[in-house]
Symmetry: C2
Subunit: 328 residues, 2 copies
């Protein structure tokens, strides 16, 4: 059973639960409700589990805290919202060093602070492995809310930054520590260890009516672009995969395929968006002026379903399926 | 290190994180923020972990789902709020029967439905044990919000129902299955397996300005009354421990101390409140008229700190400390 299969069956099980106050439920980056007339609140949750998402050998406590909050804030950014608060459910084995746990909270706080995200409380419990489930609530003006749906044929598909850096950093951290000292690769390690949620970029892009759909890239372009297309009932033609330049250099050294990292690696936490075609060049110039980084065109939304390269070859979802290794 | 010690150290770590929009943070049943002028949103999170909070041998999947949501809804009730939505972070080992997981969602949905709590999404992941972290968002009119602070000397301490039923049900389920078939004990099993969050009671009580402080009883009266007193900077004198009648009968059979179950057992999910003395009798009559159940007086709030019996003997917090068995 894949993750999407299980989600579909779970949806069946919760049919009939009243949801009249919910504007958007399961299936986008965050759920949306309406606390008052002109405001929308959004909520997202994400868990990191030791042995599944990280090991204490390969990642510092600080980075585990940072990554767990970053994954949630990235979902908030993808809705065009700003974070309000986070709750933290933490489970840990009885022999865990409290210093490790407190350093993890330092990592959470170090990202929460510039993100202006309050830490509102949570739950502490015993668990067989360190288990960190964070929920973040955010807010957005109703007119600015962006979802995965809304892309139309002809729209430009773009990303807020180059891809594959996180996957390259993972390789450095786990398999090629001798290359990790190379300053040319430092930004890859940082992309993996302390990814930056694109909060300011997300809010800025959400304020443009020319941005028709938006989501964050957590599971890889090959998987996530398919999800955006499915939600918008369109397809996509990929012209360029924007590979992180340092990842390209690393792949040349290690004999790997950097474009695969960019397509399938996941955890880059850049924003993926569909922009009205005629507005794209102007939006990209303003984006560069505002953030000093490129809004990178990936391809075009098509009426024909499915994600394909320009030569028609399908791009198969090969990103992170959290249940891929399931026996079931 | 106890749970309260660790929480205190975590608070230190997150000092400096902006929290200007937060009206209430760590330390109450739920955190509170202000989505608009006259409204307050509340959020609470609670995790259930296999082997720590339940075993698949002792509890059905349906009951695990029910209990996990009930614990959160009880916190929402304690704030006087009504639930809006829940998010669910679920981790499970690869060999887990999907049927078990879906039955767990059935249990969640069966309680979410009458509680009018939407299921807004969540996260699925591998984990070494079944890990269910639920976050619930609720709303309350600003004038009705109740917290643990606000109790004053002379107030009547009351609970929304008798205590110890859940602990008695746990004994039946785990150790005395031969007694579990006795219809006299069925309500104890139900109190343990499918506790009812006091949502309607919480909202009704919150609408009274005579109710000065409220919380839910999740960790036991001996622990939770101390927390209410600490938050209100008062003490308490306990005159009567309202023991669940069926628990008293079971204890007589098994040779246990039913009052200890009521004081320390936890997970009864009744509401604990401090009521202005002169208003108590009238409120209790109206409560009975409305809900057909007793509002049970436990004792009085005192100016002197500490929780004591009328004879002066201290009541020591002996409820559930989630980290009590820690080596650290």
């Amino acid at each position: 059973m894949t993750e999407d299969d299980l989600i579909a069956q779970i949806r069946d099980r919760i049919r009939g639960v009243p949801a009249e106050r919910l504007l958007l439920g399961i299936g986008d980056d965050a759920a949306v409700w309406q606390p008052s007339r002109n405001n929308r609140s959004v909520v997202t949750t994400d868990a990191l589990i030791e042995g599944v998402h990280f090991t204490r050998a390969a990642m510092t406590a600080h980075d585990v805290g940072h990554r767990a909050l970053a994954a949630n804030l990235s979902d908030i950014a993808a809705m065009g919202a700003r974070p309000v608060l986070a709750t933290i459910a933490l489970g840990f084995p009885s022999q865990t060093d409290p210093g490790w746990l407190l350093a993890m909270y330092d990592g959470i706080a170090a990202l929460a602070k510039p993100s202006r995200c309050a830490i509102a409380g949570g739950d502490l419990t015993r668990a067989p492995a360190i288990t960190l489930a964070i929920t973040v609530v955010g807010e957005v003006r109703s007119s600015n809310l962006k979802t995965r749906a809304g892309a139309r044929p002809g729209d430009v598909i773009a990303v807020s930054g180059p891809l594959g850096g996180s996957r390259a950093g993972l390789l450095l951290a786990l398999e090629r520590p001798e290359l990790a000292a190379d300053p040319a690769f430092a930004e890859l390690l940082a992309a993996y260890r302390t990814p930056k949620p694109r909060l300011a970029e997300g809010r800025w892009l959400a304020a443009s009516r020319h941005v028709r759909a938006m989501m964050d890239l957590s599971d890889g372009l090959s998987t996530d672009l398919g999800r955006l297309c499915a939600a918008s009932q369109v397809g996509a033609r990929v012209e360029t995969v924007p590979v992180h330049p340092a990842a390209r250099r690393l792949a040349a050294t290690t004999g790997d395929d950097a474009e695969r990292w960019a397509l399938d690696g996941g955890e880059d936490y850049e924003l993926l968006l569909a922009v009205e075609r005629r507005a794209f060049a102007h939006l990209a110039r303003r984006f560069h002026g505002r953030f000093g980084r490129e809004l990178l065109a990936v391809g075009r939304i098509s009426a024909q379903s499915g994600v394909r390269r320009v030569d028609g070859v399908p791009i198969v979802p090969a990103g992170w399926d959290h249940l891929r290794d399931a026996d079931t």
